[in-house]
Symmetry: C2
Subunit: 277 residues, 2 copies
Protein backbone atom coordinates (compact mmCIF):
# COMPACT_ATOMS: atom_id res chain seq x y z
CA UNK A 1 0.00 0.00 0.00
CA UNK A 2 1.40 3.38 -0.88
CA UNK A 3 1.81 6.06 1.80
CA UNK A 4 -0.61 8.96 2.13
CA UNK A 5 0.55 12.57 2.24
CA UNK A 6 -1.02 15.93 2.97
CA UNK A 7 -0.99 18.56 0.21
CA UNK A 8 -2.77 21.91 0.49
CA UNK A 9 -5.79 20.73 2.46
CA UNK A 10 -6.10 17.18 1.14
CA UNK A 11 -4.76 13.81 2.21
CA UNK A 12 -3.80 11.87 -0.89
CA UNK A 13 -2.03 8.67 -1.92
CA UNK A 14 1.65 9.46 -2.64
CA UNK A 15 1.22 9.02 -6.41
CA UNK A 16 -1.47 11.72 -6.46
CA UNK A 17 0.38 14.05 -4.11
CA UNK A 18 1.75 16.52 -6.63
CA UNK A 19 2.58 20.16 -7.20
CA UNK A 20 2.50 22.06 -10.47
CA UNK A 21 5.92 22.66 -11.98
CA UNK A 22 5.79 26.44 -11.66
CA UNK A 23 6.22 26.25 -7.90
CA UNK A 24 9.03 28.55 -6.81
CA UNK A 25 10.78 25.77 -4.91
CA UNK A 26 11.17 23.86 -8.18
CA UNK A 27 12.10 26.92 -10.23
CA UNK A 28 14.22 28.85 -7.71
CA UNK A 29 14.84 26.66 -4.67
CA UNK A 30 12.84 29.01 -2.47
CA UNK A 31 11.26 27.09 0.38
CA UNK A 32 11.60 25.92 3.98
CA UNK A 33 10.92 22.69 5.77
CA UNK A 34 11.18 20.92 9.07
CA UNK A 35 11.46 17.31 10.08
CA UNK A 36 10.54 15.55 13.29
CA UNK A 37 9.81 12.00 14.31
CA UNK A 38 7.75 9.82 16.53
CA UNK A 39 9.01 8.05 19.63
CA UNK A 40 6.90 5.11 20.71
CA UNK A 41 4.58 6.03 17.84
CA UNK A 42 3.80 9.48 19.18
CA UNK A 43 5.19 12.83 17.94
CA UNK A 44 8.39 13.67 19.80
CA UNK A 45 8.88 17.30 20.88
CA UNK A 46 6.51 18.42 18.12
CA UNK A 47 5.93 21.90 19.55
CA UNK A 48 9.64 22.65 19.44
CA UNK A 49 9.79 21.71 15.76
CA UNK A 50 6.65 23.69 14.98
CA UNK A 51 8.19 26.72 16.69
CA UNK A 52 11.25 26.44 14.47
CA UNK A 53 9.14 25.84 11.36
CA UNK A 54 7.08 28.99 12.06
CA UNK A 55 10.27 30.92 12.64
CA UNK A 56 11.81 29.77 9.35
CA UNK A 57 8.59 30.71 7.55
CA UNK A 58 8.57 34.17 9.10
CA UNK A 59 12.23 34.79 8.30
CA UNK A 60 11.68 33.86 4.64
CA UNK A 61 8.45 35.86 4.48
CA UNK A 62 6.33 32.79 3.69
CA UNK A 63 2.86 32.62 5.20
CA UNK A 64 1.76 29.29 6.65
CA UNK A 65 -1.73 28.60 5.30
CA UNK A 66 -2.84 26.61 8.38
CA UNK A 67 -2.49 27.17 12.10
CA UNK A 68 -0.61 25.07 14.62
CA UNK A 69 -3.58 23.13 15.96
CA UNK A 70 -4.60 22.18 12.45
CA UNK A 71 -1.05 21.02 11.65
CA UNK A 72 -1.07 18.80 14.74
CA UNK A 73 -4.42 17.37 13.71
CA UNK A 74 -3.12 16.60 10.19
CA UNK A 75 0.01 14.96 11.60
CA UNK A 76 -2.02 12.67 13.86
CA UNK A 77 -4.31 11.80 10.96
CA UNK A 78 -1.31 10.97 8.75
CA UNK A 79 0.27 8.83 11.46
CA UNK A 80 -3.01 7.00 11.89
CA UNK A 81 -3.41 6.38 8.17
CA UNK A 82 0.18 5.33 7.48
CA UNK A 83 0.86 3.30 10.61
CA UNK A 84 4.63 2.93 10.38
CA UNK A 85 6.31 1.58 13.49
CA UNK A 86 8.17 4.86 13.90
CA UNK A 87 7.65 7.76 11.51
CA UNK A 88 9.57 10.73 10.19
CA UNK A 89 7.30 13.72 9.52
CA UNK A 90 8.49 16.18 6.88
CA UNK A 91 6.66 19.50 6.53
CA UNK A 92 7.51 21.64 3.49
CA UNK A 93 6.40 25.20 2.80
CA UNK A 94 7.21 26.33 -0.74
CA UNK A 95 7.52 29.68 -2.52
CA UNK A 96 4.18 28.94 -4.21
CA UNK A 97 3.10 29.14 -7.81
CA UNK A 98 4.97 32.05 -9.30
CA UNK A 99 3.62 34.16 -12.14
CA UNK A 100 7.00 35.44 -13.25
CA UNK A 101 9.30 32.63 -12.10
CA UNK A 102 10.88 34.78 -9.41
CA UNK A 103 8.29 36.43 -7.16
CA UNK A 104 6.75 34.14 -4.51
CA UNK A 105 3.05 33.30 -4.76
CA UNK A 106 0.83 31.84 -2.03
CA UNK A 107 2.94 29.07 -0.46
CA UNK A 108 2.11 25.44 -1.06
CA UNK A 109 2.22 23.38 2.12
CA UNK A 110 2.68 19.65 2.22
CA UNK A 111 3.49 16.99 4.81
CA UNK A 112 5.06 13.60 4.09
CA UNK A 113 5.18 10.78 6.59
CA UNK A 114 7.85 8.16 6.01
CA UNK A 115 9.05 5.08 7.91
CA UNK A 116 12.07 6.21 9.87
CA UNK A 117 15.52 4.74 9.35
CA UNK A 118 17.62 5.00 12.46
CA UNK A 119 21.40 4.73 11.98
CA UNK A 120 23.09 1.35 12.42
CA UNK A 121 24.10 0.49 15.99
CA UNK A 122 27.77 0.20 14.95
CA UNK A 123 28.04 3.98 14.69
CA UNK A 124 27.10 4.32 18.35
CA UNK A 125 29.46 1.56 19.42
CA UNK A 126 32.51 2.72 17.49
CA UNK A 127 31.86 6.34 16.58
CA UNK A 128 31.87 8.01 13.18
CA UNK A 129 34.31 9.94 11.02
CA UNK A 130 33.51 13.44 9.77
CA UNK A 131 35.15 15.18 6.82
CA UNK A 132 35.66 18.95 7.11
CA UNK A 133 34.56 21.24 4.29
CA UNK A 134 34.47 25.05 4.14
CA UNK A 135 30.86 26.10 3.77
CA UNK A 136 28.51 28.56 5.42
CA UNK A 137 24.83 27.84 4.82
CA UNK A 138 22.88 30.76 3.38
CA UNK A 139 20.47 32.10 6.03
CA UNK A 140 21.88 29.59 8.48
CA UNK A 141 19.17 30.26 11.06
CA UNK A 142 16.52 29.16 8.58
CA UNK A 143 15.82 25.51 7.83
CA UNK A 144 15.71 26.14 4.09
CA UNK A 145 15.46 23.31 1.57
CA UNK A 146 18.91 24.13 0.15
CA UNK A 147 21.17 21.06 0.43
CA UNK A 148 23.07 21.53 -2.84
CA UNK A 149 26.48 21.22 -1.22
CA UNK A 150 26.11 18.09 0.94
CA UNK A 151 24.32 16.22 -1.86
CA UNK A 152 26.91 17.30 -4.42
CA UNK A 153 29.86 16.21 -2.24
CA UNK A 154 28.28 13.09 -0.72
CA UNK A 155 30.33 10.69 -2.86
CA UNK A 156 33.60 12.41 -1.91
CA UNK A 157 32.64 12.09 1.74
CA UNK A 158 31.95 8.38 1.26
CA UNK A 159 35.22 7.89 -0.59
CA UNK A 160 37.03 9.35 2.38
CA UNK A 161 35.15 6.92 4.63
CA UNK A 162 33.25 9.81 6.16
CA UNK A 163 29.81 9.42 7.69
CA UNK A 164 29.00 13.06 6.99
CA UNK A 165 30.50 16.49 6.32
CA UNK A 166 31.56 18.95 9.07
CA UNK A 167 31.26 22.54 7.83
CA UNK A 168 33.67 25.26 8.90
CA UNK A 169 33.95 28.85 7.77
CA UNK A 170 36.64 31.46 8.40
CA UNK A 171 38.43 29.06 10.75
CA UNK A 172 35.37 28.28 12.86
CA UNK A 173 33.60 24.96 13.03
CA UNK A 174 29.88 25.29 12.31
CA UNK A 175 27.69 22.21 11.89
CA UNK A 176 27.26 18.87 10.15
CA UNK A 177 25.03 18.73 7.05
CA UNK A 178 21.96 17.68 9.08
CA UNK A 179 23.31 17.64 12.66
CA UNK A 180 24.90 19.85 15.28
CA UNK A 181 28.45 19.32 16.49
CA UNK A 182 29.92 19.27 20.02
CA UNK A 183 33.26 18.71 21.68
CA UNK A 184 34.05 17.85 25.30
CA UNK A 185 37.21 18.80 27.17
CA UNK A 186 37.79 18.91 30.94
CA UNK A 187 34.13 18.39 31.84
CA UNK A 188 33.17 21.25 29.52
CA UNK A 189 30.82 20.81 26.57
CA UNK A 190 31.33 23.27 23.70
CA UNK A 191 29.10 23.77 20.68
CA UNK A 192 28.98 26.53 18.05
CA UNK A 193 26.25 29.09 18.57
CA UNK A 194 26.40 31.39 15.55
CA UNK A 195 25.88 30.58 11.85
CA UNK A 196 24.31 27.21 12.58
CA UNK A 197 20.81 25.83 12.63
CA UNK A 198 19.77 25.38 16.24
CA UNK A 199 18.65 21.77 16.39
CA UNK A 200 15.87 20.58 18.66
CA UNK A 201 18.05 17.65 19.75
CA UNK A 202 20.90 20.14 20.29
CA UNK A 203 18.71 22.15 22.65
CA UNK A 204 17.47 19.06 24.47
CA UNK A 205 20.99 17.70 24.93
CA UNK A 206 22.34 21.04 26.14
CA UNK A 207 19.59 21.15 28.78
CA UNK A 208 20.27 17.59 29.89
CA UNK A 209 24.04 18.10 29.88
CA UNK A 210 23.95 21.00 32.33
CA UNK A 211 23.53 18.48 35.16
CA UNK A 212 26.87 16.82 34.49
CA UNK A 213 28.99 19.29 32.46
CA UNK A 214 29.76 22.96 32.04
CA UNK A 215 28.04 24.08 28.84
CA UNK A 216 29.51 26.69 26.49
CA UNK A 217 27.71 27.90 23.36
CA UNK A 218 30.31 29.96 21.51
CA UNK A 219 32.65 30.13 18.53
CA UNK A 220 34.67 26.94 18.21
CA UNK A 221 37.82 27.20 16.11
CA UNK A 222 39.17 24.40 13.96
CA UNK A 223 42.37 24.58 16.05
CA UNK A 224 40.44 23.77 19.20
CA UNK A 225 39.67 20.33 17.77
CA UNK A 226 43.17 19.28 18.79
CA UNK A 227 42.24 19.85 22.43
CA UNK A 228 39.00 17.82 22.36
CA UNK A 229 38.95 14.59 24.32
CA UNK A 230 35.49 13.68 22.98
CA UNK A 231 33.16 14.79 20.19
CA UNK A 232 29.64 13.95 19.10
CA UNK A 233 26.80 15.10 16.89
CA UNK A 234 23.09 15.42 17.58
CA UNK A 235 20.16 15.12 15.22
CA UNK A 236 16.52 14.17 15.09
CA UNK A 237 17.11 10.63 13.88
CA UNK A 238 20.66 10.36 15.23
CA UNK A 239 20.04 11.33 18.85
CA UNK A 240 23.58 11.57 20.34
CA UNK A 241 26.16 9.94 18.03
CA UNK A 242 29.86 9.77 18.97
CA UNK A 243 32.53 11.18 16.64
CA UNK A 244 35.91 9.47 16.83
CA UNK A 245 37.65 10.77 13.71
CA UNK A 246 37.73 14.09 11.90
CA UNK A 247 39.62 13.95 8.60
CA UNK A 248 42.90 12.24 9.54
CA UNK A 249 42.70 13.20 13.21
CA UNK A 250 41.68 10.82 15.97
CA UNK A 251 39.55 12.39 18.71
CA UNK A 252 40.61 11.36 22.23
CA UNK A 253 41.46 7.68 22.24
CA UNK A 254 39.47 6.95 19.08
CA UNK A 255 36.50 5.47 20.90
CA UNK A 256 33.22 6.97 22.13
CA UNK A 257 34.18 8.92 25.25
CA UNK A 258 32.73 8.44 28.76
CA UNK A 259 30.83 11.74 28.87
CA UNK A 260 29.42 11.13 25.40
CA UNK A 261 28.22 7.71 26.49
CA UNK A 262 26.58 9.27 29.54
CA UNK A 263 24.79 11.79 27.32
CA UNK A 264 23.67 9.03 24.92
CA UNK A 265 22.16 7.24 27.92
CA UNK A 266 20.65 10.36 29.48
CA UNK A 267 19.03 11.25 26.15
CA UNK A 268 17.52 7.76 25.80
CA UNK A 269 16.17 8.04 29.34
CA UNK A 270 14.67 11.43 28.51
CA UNK A 271 13.05 9.97 25.41
CA UNK A 272 11.57 7.10 27.42
CA UNK A 273 10.17 9.44 30.04
CA UNK A 274 8.70 11.59 27.24
CA UNK A 275 6.96 8.51 25.80
CA UNK A 276 5.51 7.72 29.20
CA UNK A 277 4.02 11.20 29.66
Amino acid sequence: MEPEYYVNGEILPASNATLKINDLTLLRGYGIFDFFRTSGGKPFLMDNYLDRFSNSAALMDLKLPVGRDKIKEIVLELLDRNRFEESGIRMVLTGGYSEDGFTPGDPNFFILVEPIHFPDEKYYLHGIKLITYEHLREWSGVKSINYLTPIKIRKDIEQNKGYDVLYYFNGNILEVSRSNFFIIRDKTLVTPEKNVLHGITRKTVLNLARDILTVEERDLSLKELTTASEAFITGTTKRVMPVTNIDDRIIGIGEPGPETKKLMEIFREFEKSYQAE
Copy 2:
Protein backbone atom coordinates in the same frame (compact mmCIF):
# COMPACT_ATOMS: atom_id res chain seq x y z
CA MET B 1 -6.11 29.10 -23.06
CA GLU B 2 -3.57 27.76 -20.64
CA PRO B 3 0.03 27.20 -21.73
CA GLU B 4 1.38 23.73 -22.46
CA TYR B 5 4.54 22.38 -20.88
CA TYR B 6 6.78 19.38 -21.35
CA VAL B 7 7.20 16.97 -18.41
CA ASN B 8 9.09 13.68 -18.63
CA GLY B 9 8.11 12.76 -22.17
CA GLU B 10 4.67 14.35 -22.36
CA ILE B 11 3.33 17.72 -23.43
CA LEU B 12 0.57 18.73 -21.03
CA PRO B 13 -1.64 21.70 -20.17
CA ALA B 14 0.00 23.69 -17.34
CA SER B 15 -2.56 22.56 -14.76
CA ASN B 16 -1.69 18.90 -15.44
CA ALA B 17 2.06 19.51 -15.58
CA THR B 18 3.02 18.26 -12.14
CA LEU B 19 5.69 16.44 -10.17
CA LYS B 20 5.24 14.28 -7.11
CA ILE B 21 6.20 15.97 -3.86
CA ASN B 22 9.09 13.64 -3.09
CA ASP B 23 11.21 15.16 -5.84
CA LEU B 24 14.61 16.11 -4.46
CA THR B 25 14.32 19.66 -5.79
CA LEU B 26 11.28 20.18 -3.58
CA LEU B 27 12.76 18.37 -0.57
CA ARG B 28 16.41 19.48 -0.82
CA GLY B 29 16.73 22.15 -3.49
CA TYR B 30 18.89 19.87 -5.62
CA GLY B 31 18.41 20.73 -9.28
CA ILE B 32 19.68 22.73 -12.23
CA PHE B 33 18.04 24.74 -14.96
CA ASP B 34 18.68 26.99 -17.91
CA PHE B 35 16.69 29.71 -19.58
CA PHE B 36 16.82 31.05 -23.11
CA ARG B 37 14.49 32.98 -25.35
CA THR B 38 13.31 33.47 -28.85
CA SER B 39 14.23 36.37 -31.08
CA GLY B 40 11.85 36.96 -33.95
CA GLY B 41 10.01 33.87 -32.73
CA LYS B 42 12.96 31.54 -33.19
CA PRO B 43 15.28 30.15 -30.49
CA PHE B 44 18.19 32.51 -29.92
CA LEU B 45 21.65 30.94 -29.44
CA MET B 46 19.98 27.72 -28.28
CA ASP B 47 23.10 25.56 -28.70
CA ASN B 48 25.06 27.79 -26.35
CA TYR B 49 22.39 27.41 -23.67
CA LEU B 50 22.16 23.67 -24.22
CA ASP B 51 25.94 23.42 -23.81
CA ARG B 52 25.71 25.19 -20.48
CA PHE B 53 22.72 23.12 -19.37
CA SER B 54 24.58 19.86 -20.16
CA ASN B 55 27.60 21.17 -18.30
CA SER B 56 25.54 22.06 -15.20
CA ALA B 57 23.95 18.60 -15.31
CA ALA B 58 27.34 16.89 -15.52
CA LEU B 59 28.80 18.97 -12.69
CA MET B 60 25.89 18.07 -10.42
CA ASP B 61 25.98 14.43 -11.49
CA LEU B 62 22.44 14.56 -12.94
CA LYS B 63 21.78 12.56 -16.09
CA LEU B 64 19.70 14.23 -18.80
CA PRO B 65 17.07 11.71 -19.87
CA VAL B 66 16.86 13.02 -23.47
CA GLY B 67 19.48 13.99 -26.02
CA ARG B 68 20.09 17.40 -27.56
CA ASP B 69 18.23 16.80 -30.81
CA LYS B 70 15.18 15.63 -28.90
CA ILE B 71 15.30 18.71 -26.64
CA LYS B 72 15.37 20.97 -29.71
CA GLU B 73 12.42 19.09 -31.18
CA ILE B 74 10.43 19.50 -27.94
CA VAL B 75 11.26 23.22 -27.78
CA LEU B 76 10.03 23.80 -31.33
CA GLU B 77 6.87 21.82 -30.60
CA LEU B 78 6.24 23.88 -27.44
CA LEU B 79 6.80 27.14 -29.31
CA ASP B 80 4.39 26.01 -32.00
CA ARG B 81 1.72 25.02 -29.49
CA ASN B 82 1.98 28.08 -27.26
CA ARG B 83 2.52 30.77 -29.92
CA PHE B 84 3.63 33.66 -27.76
CA GLU B 85 5.02 36.63 -29.66
CA GLU B 86 8.39 36.08 -28.00
CA SER B 87 8.99 33.20 -25.57
CA GLY B 88 11.20 32.41 -22.64
CA ILE B 89 12.11 28.72 -22.48
CA ARG B 90 12.93 27.31 -19.04
CA MET B 91 14.43 23.81 -18.83
CA VAL B 92 14.65 22.24 -15.35
CA LEU B 93 16.43 19.03 -14.41
CA THR B 94 15.63 17.91 -10.87
CA GLY B 95 17.22 15.54 -8.36
CA GLY B 96 14.40 13.07 -9.08
CA TYR B 97 12.13 11.12 -6.81
CA SER B 98 14.19 10.26 -3.77
CA GLU B 99 13.63 7.14 -1.68
CA ASP B 100 15.30 8.52 1.43
CA GLY B 101 14.79 12.26 0.99
CA PHE B 102 18.48 12.87 0.39
CA THR B 103 19.91 10.61 -2.33
CA PRO B 104 19.07 11.66 -5.90
CA GLY B 105 16.85 9.40 -8.02
CA ASP B 106 16.41 9.47 -11.80
CA PRO B 107 16.08 13.16 -12.66
CA ASN B 108 12.77 14.63 -13.70
CA PHE B 109 13.06 16.89 -16.73
CA PHE B 110 10.55 19.56 -17.62
CA ILE B 111 10.36 22.54 -19.96
CA LEU B 112 8.13 25.57 -19.52
CA VAL B 113 7.49 28.13 -22.21
CA GLU B 114 6.32 31.52 -21.06
CA PRO B 115 5.58 34.85 -22.77
CA ILE B 116 8.69 36.93 -22.29
CA HIS B 117 8.69 40.21 -20.42
CA PHE B 118 11.45 42.50 -21.59
CA PRO B 119 12.48 45.29 -19.19
CA ASP B 120 10.94 48.72 -19.59
CA GLU B 121 12.69 51.02 -22.06
CA LYS B 122 13.36 53.59 -19.31
CA TYR B 123 16.09 51.39 -17.86
CA TYR B 124 18.00 51.55 -21.13
CA LEU B 125 17.51 55.29 -21.46
CA HIS B 126 18.49 56.24 -17.94
CA GLY B 127 20.37 53.26 -16.54
CA ILE B 128 19.72 51.26 -13.40
CA LYS B 129 20.89 51.23 -9.80
CA LEU B 130 22.46 48.13 -8.25
CA ILE B 131 22.75 47.40 -4.53
CA THR B 132 25.87 45.53 -3.38
CA TYR B 133 25.56 42.50 -1.12
CA GLU B 134 28.21 40.04 0.06
CA HIS B 135 27.35 36.64 -1.36
CA LEU B 136 29.13 33.89 -3.24
CA ARG B 137 26.80 31.47 -5.01
CA GLU B 138 27.39 27.82 -4.12
CA TRP B 139 28.87 26.00 -7.13
CA SER B 140 28.95 29.28 -9.00
CA GLY B 141 29.79 27.64 -12.32
CA VAL B 142 26.55 25.66 -12.15
CA LYS B 143 23.20 27.18 -13.03
CA SER B 144 21.54 25.64 -9.99
CA ILE B 145 17.99 26.47 -8.98
CA ASN B 146 19.17 28.07 -5.72
CA TYR B 147 17.98 31.69 -5.57
CA LEU B 148 17.26 31.86 -1.83
CA THR B 149 19.28 35.01 -1.30
CA PRO B 150 18.04 37.29 -4.09
CA ILE B 151 14.41 36.33 -3.45
CA LYS B 152 14.83 36.81 0.29
CA ILE B 153 16.38 40.28 -0.08
CA ARG B 154 14.32 41.49 -3.04
CA LYS B 155 12.20 43.86 -0.95
CA ASP B 156 15.28 45.46 0.63
CA ILE B 157 16.70 46.00 -2.85
CA GLU B 158 13.43 47.64 -3.94
CA GLN B 159 13.34 49.81 -0.83
CA ASN B 160 16.78 51.09 -1.73
CA LYS B 161 15.50 51.86 -5.22
CA GLY B 162 17.70 49.13 -6.64
CA TYR B 163 16.89 47.29 -9.85
CA ASP B 164 18.85 44.25 -8.68
CA VAL B 165 21.59 43.04 -6.33
CA LEU B 166 25.32 43.10 -7.18
CA TYR B 167 27.15 40.31 -5.34
CA TYR B 168 30.69 40.70 -4.05
CA PHE B 169 32.80 38.36 -1.96
CA ASN B 170 36.12 38.91 -0.21
CA GLY B 171 36.39 42.37 -1.75
CA ASN B 172 35.77 41.23 -5.33
CA ILE B 173 32.73 42.02 -7.41
CA LEU B 174 31.08 38.90 -8.79
CA GLU B 175 27.74 39.08 -10.58
CA VAL B 176 24.16 40.32 -10.43
CA SER B 177 21.46 37.88 -9.29
CA ARG B 178 20.58 36.86 -12.87
CA SER B 179 23.06 38.90 -14.92
CA ASN B 180 26.78 39.47 -15.46
CA PHE B 181 28.48 42.73 -14.59
CA PHE B 182 30.97 44.86 -16.55
CA ILE B 183 32.80 48.15 -16.14
CA ILE B 184 34.50 50.28 -18.77
CA ARG B 185 37.49 52.53 -18.21
CA ASP B 186 39.89 54.00 -20.80
CA LYS B 187 38.54 51.90 -23.67
CA THR B 188 38.97 48.76 -21.57
CA LEU B 189 36.09 46.46 -20.70
CA VAL B 190 36.50 44.50 -17.46
CA THR B 191 34.29 41.69 -16.21
CA PRO B 192 34.81 39.13 -13.42
CA GLU B 193 35.89 35.70 -14.60
CA LYS B 194 35.96 33.52 -11.48
CA ASN B 195 33.12 32.58 -9.12
CA VAL B 196 30.43 33.72 -11.55
CA LEU B 197 28.04 32.01 -13.91
CA HIS B 198 29.31 32.58 -17.45
CA GLY B 199 26.30 34.03 -19.23
CA ILE B 200 25.61 33.40 -22.88
CA THR B 201 24.92 37.11 -23.38
CA ARG B 202 28.18 37.80 -21.50
CA LYS B 203 30.09 35.66 -23.98
CA THR B 204 28.34 37.19 -26.97
CA VAL B 205 28.99 40.73 -25.78
CA LEU B 206 32.65 40.00 -25.00
CA ASN B 207 33.09 38.68 -28.55
CA LEU B 208 31.38 41.70 -30.08
CA ALA B 209 33.24 44.13 -27.80
CA ARG B 210 36.68 43.00 -28.95
CA ASP B 211 36.25 45.07 -32.11
CA ILE B 212 35.99 48.35 -30.22
CA LEU B 213 37.50 47.78 -26.76
CA THR B 214 40.26 45.94 -24.95
CA VAL B 215 38.63 43.07 -23.07
CA GLU B 216 39.81 41.85 -19.67
CA GLU B 217 38.25 38.90 -17.86
CA ARG B 218 39.76 38.99 -14.41
CA ASP B 219 39.17 39.73 -10.72
CA LEU B 220 37.47 43.08 -10.26
CA SER B 221 37.76 44.62 -6.82
CA LEU B 222 35.07 46.71 -5.20
CA LYS B 223 37.61 49.54 -5.01
CA GLU B 224 37.99 49.55 -8.77
CA LEU B 225 34.38 50.68 -9.07
CA THR B 226 35.56 54.20 -8.24
CA THR B 227 37.62 54.22 -11.43
CA ALA B 228 34.82 53.07 -13.76
CA SER B 229 33.52 55.61 -16.25
CA GLU B 230 30.75 53.25 -17.39
CA ALA B 231 29.09 50.06 -16.18
CA PHE B 232 26.46 47.69 -17.52
CA ILE B 233 24.94 44.25 -17.03
CA THR B 234 24.09 41.54 -19.54
CA GLY B 235 21.39 38.90 -19.40
CA THR B 236 19.19 36.78 -21.61
CA THR B 237 16.15 39.05 -21.35
CA LYS B 238 18.12 42.22 -20.52
CA ARG B 239 20.60 42.20 -23.41
CA VAL B 240 23.00 45.08 -22.53
CA MET B 241 21.56 47.29 -19.79
CA PRO B 242 23.41 50.38 -18.51
CA VAL B 243 24.20 50.78 -14.81
CA THR B 244 24.42 54.37 -13.58
CA ASN B 245 24.32 53.93 -9.80
CA ILE B 246 25.78 51.43 -7.39
CA ASP B 247 24.61 51.93 -3.80
CA ASP B 248 25.18 55.66 -3.22
CA ARG B 249 27.84 55.99 -5.91
CA ILE B 250 27.21 57.50 -9.32
CA ILE B 251 29.04 55.77 -12.18
CA GLY B 252 30.65 58.19 -14.64
CA ILE B 253 28.29 61.10 -15.25
CA GLY B 254 25.23 59.16 -14.09
CA GLU B 255 23.96 58.45 -17.60
CA PRO B 256 24.44 55.47 -19.91
CA GLY B 257 27.99 55.90 -21.27
CA PRO B 258 29.00 56.14 -24.95
CA GLU B 259 30.72 52.73 -25.14
CA THR B 260 27.79 51.07 -23.37
CA LYS B 261 25.42 52.62 -25.90
CA LYS B 262 27.59 51.33 -28.73
CA LEU B 263 27.49 47.83 -27.24
CA MET B 264 23.71 48.03 -26.80
CA GLU B 265 23.46 48.89 -30.48
CA ILE B 266 26.01 46.31 -31.64
CA PHE B 267 24.16 43.62 -29.67
CA ARG B 268 20.83 44.57 -31.24
CA GLU B 269 22.44 44.43 -34.68
CA PHE B 270 23.86 41.01 -33.89
CA GLU B 271 20.43 39.83 -32.79
CA LYS B 272 18.86 41.09 -36.02
CA SER B 273 21.47 39.38 -38.16
CA TYR B 274 20.90 36.16 -36.17
CA GLN B 275 17.17 36.39 -36.89
CA ALA B 276 17.89 36.78 -40.59
CA GLU B 277 20.10 33.69 -40.78
